[in-house]
């Protein structure tokens, strides 16, 4: 059972309060009609699925009801940090600092 810090509630809470919401920083195209089939396919289906640092979204469904972003290591499941939706992707430099 993971412990996840909701950046809105500012509390570390049990995983059962949250639901997973897929990879983060994938923005919906503002004009989908302008995209080619291949571009739309990439938006819709292609995900990075890395071994290691992963940017992902969580939904505090049984808490404040808000979506936020997290950086999690998919090998250890350790959370490096969580941050509100809409904030820029943390740089690799920041993440390494937080890991050590």
């Amino acid at each position: 059972m993971l412990l996840i810090k909701c950046p809105y509630c500012q509390q570390e809470r049990a995983e059962v309060e949250f639901s997973y919401a897929g990879e983060a920083h994938i923005e919906r195209p503002s004009d989908p009609a302008a995209l080619s089939d291949a571009e739309w396919e990439a938006y819709l289906f292609l995900r990075s699925n890395p071994r290691g640092t992963h940017f992902e979204r969580w939904y505090h469904i049984h808490g404040c009801g808000r979506y936020f972003n997290a950086v999690r290591d998919t090998v250890t499941d350790n959370f490096v940090r969580t941050y509100p939706a809409g904030m820029p992707r943390p740089s690799v430099h920041d993440i390494d600092d937080a890991k050590t």
Partner: protein, 991 residues
């Protein structure tokens, strides 16, 4: 007194006799025995038959790593458990144990023919067998496997026990109560930390429980143990848990501990849980899980009477049991000498110590000499002889040419070195590192806040265990402190071997690596010959390490043998993954309280009580229980549903629709938000009007549907399917929060705030008219697909004029607390209209007669709006909505997609089976193209024939065509028709 019980020594109470039975024979042990020590005290080694070859097997260990002595235990009152390790089962009065996996009896076992009959179960047996013709599998191999394989018999009775569970938090969790764990718990608690100390055995102490020679701080080891335990128990900040196994180490220092509370008791208190699952979150974890002695691999190493050397020492020193009168020791490691010396000191005539090493330490030779023990250095074992008990071993010098010699014995004690127990460390995603000097993996890089101490860290000396534990518990930066002084026999050197060297032809004699799964050295070499080069593949092909013991005694030997066969170092061929649980764990303790009525939440609607009182039959719909039908005396479901359907279309049916999801969408941009979330256009929907809404996922497939009513310019009452309520809310929130945060919209779940009573039938308006205030019910003023706010029976209502049946219909929304009262009033007032309550089954039939889809029944996540005949629901002028772009994807616009149609059976009384496949040709032989399937099928009482909905390739172009639904016993002929079976023009709606 038992024949093999020493007169003195050990921690058992010789005066307290304990009666038990083994395979129906009455025996006795003493208080403090395990089942294994009691059997050995009675001179019984041979306790079971092996998995594949049905070879006689004995007790090979004294602990949790046992791979041979697996027994069935009957604790009475339906409590029967299989695969119980005799070495961990505490003896209690009246215990009944039986051998498993032998027929007709332990002594005369037919399965042994498997071994004599040839390589029936050779390496890769399962994989190779599955490649043979199906008939061979069904007729020949499956019966053989069923009869001869399997471990024990599964209990048939309902599990009468209850299981508890609790959460706990602590600063330091110490796993293992041996010297390292005790020292860690002492130093951590001394610093004021909140400590949990858990050990799987009945007594804390680990190796100290069988240590009769060492001194700790000048005190005898077991005396130190007693005072250390007393100190810990006294401290308020320490929780000491015995009989508690850490079965799983999960993320962020979350561990599952299983505490066994009653398996060692005879008389069971009804309120006492059998086991308790501790879910522990620890700031820091100290792993003090010890090490497991490694067996040696040589021909006949599984004869009963063969066991790990340390186990023999434990049986002697802890239980006062001699495992034989003439044991022989085979080793490549110093530690086995401790067993030989202790046995000799107890008056047992040790036949010899066979040491594979040429250079046996002089101190050991000297002490052996003093005790009259012959040591054969530089020797190996060619074979172990004997039937139901080992009787002799054949030994020879390792250097070829020396004469072989036969040594008689009645017990064979082996030691192949030690394997640190890194299971939990590895489960916690730590990286192991290989130590050539130990021939073992030890903890390397930690993924979590944990450290290891003692033997599990590759530090085998008592001194290292104590000071390592002390440092870990106190959080010192050094791995070892100098708090403790120890006087001990420091024999910890040795070598690692893949298998004992032998000159014997490999064809003769089986040398076992995995005792539980009967995997031999030959099997592993064969796997390598057949091209398996990764240990993960070798493991699966040979099944080594895949039994319930997860290879505790076999993994490293298997690795070493594979490495030798491949000619590559061990570190190059990988390591299999350690997975929870550490030891076999009951399903009951995982389930805990979540069984029976507590298995899951049951949501009940406001009228649930009424339905129950009126004989409703319920069915689960997501977490809700909903009334399915209301049978009258003598009615089955079909009869009840037929009556409910007829009554609704004739006059009035009433049903509870409270379970529908409801979301209030409010704000300046509410209509624009709905434009983007649903396929339909919303901007022009008038206040007080409703519209059917179709929701897609971004992939273009139907996600949900429901009716949306506009209460004000900026306020919508949205309904969803019962099962989709939470999903739709999350879906809406997701887009609102993360894509269109600029929109001025608020979403509020109101599912539980409103009770919904659906009235359907031609007389519904007359029924409610006298009780409705502030709403004009006239058909022009309040048309189909409209919503009004007012009062009914004096209670505020949002009254929808909608229909899911094709009849004149109203959905009366009232605050939930009035739901039951309004329902009862309607039943009362409806009596003169012969009002009939109906459940979900009638609801399904009535809507299917009208061709209305149910999301999740007609759809399965691969249907577009056009597939289900709802292209009309798409707002053509909207620039975008969720899923719009996907409707242009190549696969979506491709011809011949499956489309919703109706089906009529040739024989009108035949009701098709939902899920049945549809084919185009009546008598084609398989394989036949399946062009669709039946999604809904019912008897229609109103139409007096069966109806069905289906999705069929190119379905709408097949109207009138004959298709076929093959079933096991017959083939049904069906005609493709329009999915609207009843009142196609909709006259009954607009009245």
């Amino acid at each position: 007194m038992n024949a093999y019980r020493a007169d003195q020594g050990g921690r058992v109470e010789r005066g307290a006799s304990v009666a038990f039975s083994f395979n129906g024979t009455n025996l006795s042990g003493v208080k403090g025995d395990t089942l294994a020590s009691a059997l050995l005290a009675n001179g019984i080694h041979f306790v079971g038959r092996s998995f594949k070859y049905h070879r006689p097997r004995g007790i090979m260990s004294a602990g949790t790593e046992e791979a041979s002595a697996l027994l069935g235990i009957d604790r009475g009152q339906g409590r029967y458990d299989t695969n119980i390790r005799a070495t961990t089962q505490e003896l209690f009065d009246g215990l009944k144990a039986e051998s498993q996996h032998c027929w007709p009896s332990l002594r005369w076992d037919m399965g042994v023919l498997n071994e004599l009959g040839g390589p029936v179960m050779s390496t890769g047996f399962y994989y190779k067998t599955f490649m043979w013709p199906k008939s061979a599998w069904e007729k020949v191999y499956e019966p053989i496997i069923r009869k001869s394989a399997g471990l024990g018999r599964a209990p048939r009775a309902f599990d009468p026990d209850c299981y508890a569970s609790r959460y706990a938090h602590c600063d330091v969790l110490v796993v293992g109560g041996g010297p390292a764990g005790l020292a860690a718990a002492l130093s951590a608690s001394h610093k004021g930390k909140k400590v949990i100390l858990a050990d799987e055995q009945a007594e804390m102490g680990g190796s100290l429980l069988s240590d009769t020679g060492s001194l700790i701080n000048g005190e005898a080891a077991q005396a130190w143990l007693a005072s250390a335990l007393a100190t810990l128990v006294e401290r308020d900040n320490v929780t000491v848990l015995t009989r508690t196994t850490a079965v799983g180490y999960y993320q962020q220092n979350f561990l599952g501990l299983v505490e066994r509370l009653s398996d060692h008791l005879r008389v069971l208190d009804a309120d006492l849980p059998r086991e308790r699952m501790w879910r522990v979150r620890a700031s820091q974890v100290v792993l003090a899980t010890g090490a497991i002695e490694r067996p040696l691999v040589f021909a006949g190493n599984d004869r009963p009477g063969t066991m790990l050397a340390s186990a023999a020492r434990t049986y002697l020193n802890r239980y006062g049991v001699r495992v034989g009168n003439r044991p022989v020791v085979v080793t490549c490691h110093d530690s086995a000498y401790l067993a030989a010396f202790d046995l000799a000191n107890a008056g047992v005539g040790v036949a010899a110590v066979i040491d594979v090493r040429d250079d046996v330490p002089a101190a050991l030779l000297e002490k052996a000499g003093r005790l009259g023990i012959e040591v054969l250095g530089g020797h190996t074992v060619l074979a172990a002889k004997g039937g139901l008990l080992v009787s002799a071993i054949v030994v020879a010098p390792v250097q070829a040419g020396g004469p072989a010699r036969t040594i008689d014995c009645d017990a064979l004690l082996m030691c192949g070195g030690w394997t640190p127990s890194v299971h939990l460390f590895s489960q916690a995603k730590g990286m192991l590192s290989w130590r050539d000097d130990l021939g073992a993996y030890v903890p390397g890089r930690y993924a979590q806040n944990a450290r290891s101490a003692g033997a599990c860290d590759g530090r085998f000396l008592l001194l290292e265990a104590l000071n390592g534990g002390d440092a870990a518990g106190a959080g010192l930066s050094d791995p070892i402190s100098d708090t403790y002084t120890v006087a001990e026999e420091t024999h910890s050197s040795g070598i690692s071997l893949a298998a004992l060297p032998t000159s014997a032809k490999p064809a003769r004699g089986k040398a076992f690596v995995d005792f539980q799964h009967d995997v031999t050295i030959k099997d592993i070499r064969q796997a390598v010959l057949e091209g398996f080069h990764s240990i993960e593949h070798i493991k699966r092909y040979t099944t080594t390490g895949m039994a319930t013991d997860q290879g505790k005694t076999s993994n490293l030997n298997g690795l070493a043998i594979a490495s030798e066969a491949l000619g590559r170092p061990i570190v190059d061929i990988g390591l299999t993954t350690f997975r929870p649980p550490y030891t076999p764990t009951s399903f009951g303790v995982f389930a805990g309280y979540s069984r029976g009525d507590l298995f899951d939440v049951t949501r009940k609607s406001p009228t649930d009580r009424w339905a129950e009182q009126h004989g409703a039959v319920f069915e689960p719909v997501s977490l809700w229980r909903r009334a399915r039908y209301f049978p009258q005396p003598g009615e089955d479901m079909d009869k009840a549903v037929a009556r409910e359907c007829k009554a609704t279309r004739a006059s009035i049916g009433i049903s509870d629709a409270s379970t529908l999801g409801k979301i209030e969408v409010v704000g300046r941009d509410a209509a624009e938000f709905l434009n983007r979330m649903y396929t339909n256009p919303w901007t022009k929907l008038g206040i007080g009007r409703c519209r059917y809404g179709l929701m897609l996922g971004e992939d273009g497939f139907v996600l949900d549907d429901g009716v949306v009513g506009r209460l004000a310019e900026d306020r919508f009452h949205v309904t969803t399917t019962t099962g989709g309520a939470a999903r739709v809310m999350a879906h809406m929130e997701d887009y609102l929060q993360t894509e269109w945060a600029d929109l001025n919209v608020w979403l509020t779940s109101i599912s539980e705030q409103w009770a919904v009573i659906a009235l359907n039938g031609p007389n519904t308006r007359q029924l409610i008219a006298p009780f409705v205030e502030a709403i004009d019910l006239d058909k022009e003023a309040f048309p189909h697909m409209a919503i009004r706010e007012g009062k009914i029976f004096g209670v505020p209502t949002r009254l929808f004029r909608v229909s899911f049946t094709g009849e004149l219909g109203f959905e009366i929304n009232v605050p939930s607390r009035y739901g039951l009262a309004v329902w009862e009033r309607l039943m009362e007032a409806g009596a003169k209209y012969d009002i009939v309550p109906y459940g979900t089954e009638t609801l399904h039939v009535l809507r299917a007669e009208k061709g209305y889809i149910i999301v999740g029944q007609e759809t399965d996540g691969t249907q577009t709006p056009d597939d289900v005949g709802m292209a009309w629901a798409i707002g053509k002028k909207k620039p975008d909505f969720v899923g719009k772009r996907s409707l242009e994807r190549p696969d979506i616009v491709a011809p011949n997609r499956k489309q919703l149609v109706g089906l009529l059976t040739e024989e009108p009384r035949t009701v098709l089976e939902e899920g049945a496949q549809i084919v185009a040709e009546k008598s084609a032989s398989p394989p036949v193209d399946m062009i669709g399937h039946v999604t809904s099928a019912y008897w229609s009482e109103c139409l007096q024939h069966s109806i069905a909905l289906a999705v069929v390739e190119g379905g709408r172009a097949r109207m009138g065509e004959a298709l076929y639904v093959p079933m096991p016993d017959t083939v049904h002929t069906v005609k493709v028709v329009d999915p609207v079976f009843y009142d196609a023009s909709g006259e009954r709606l607009n009245v």
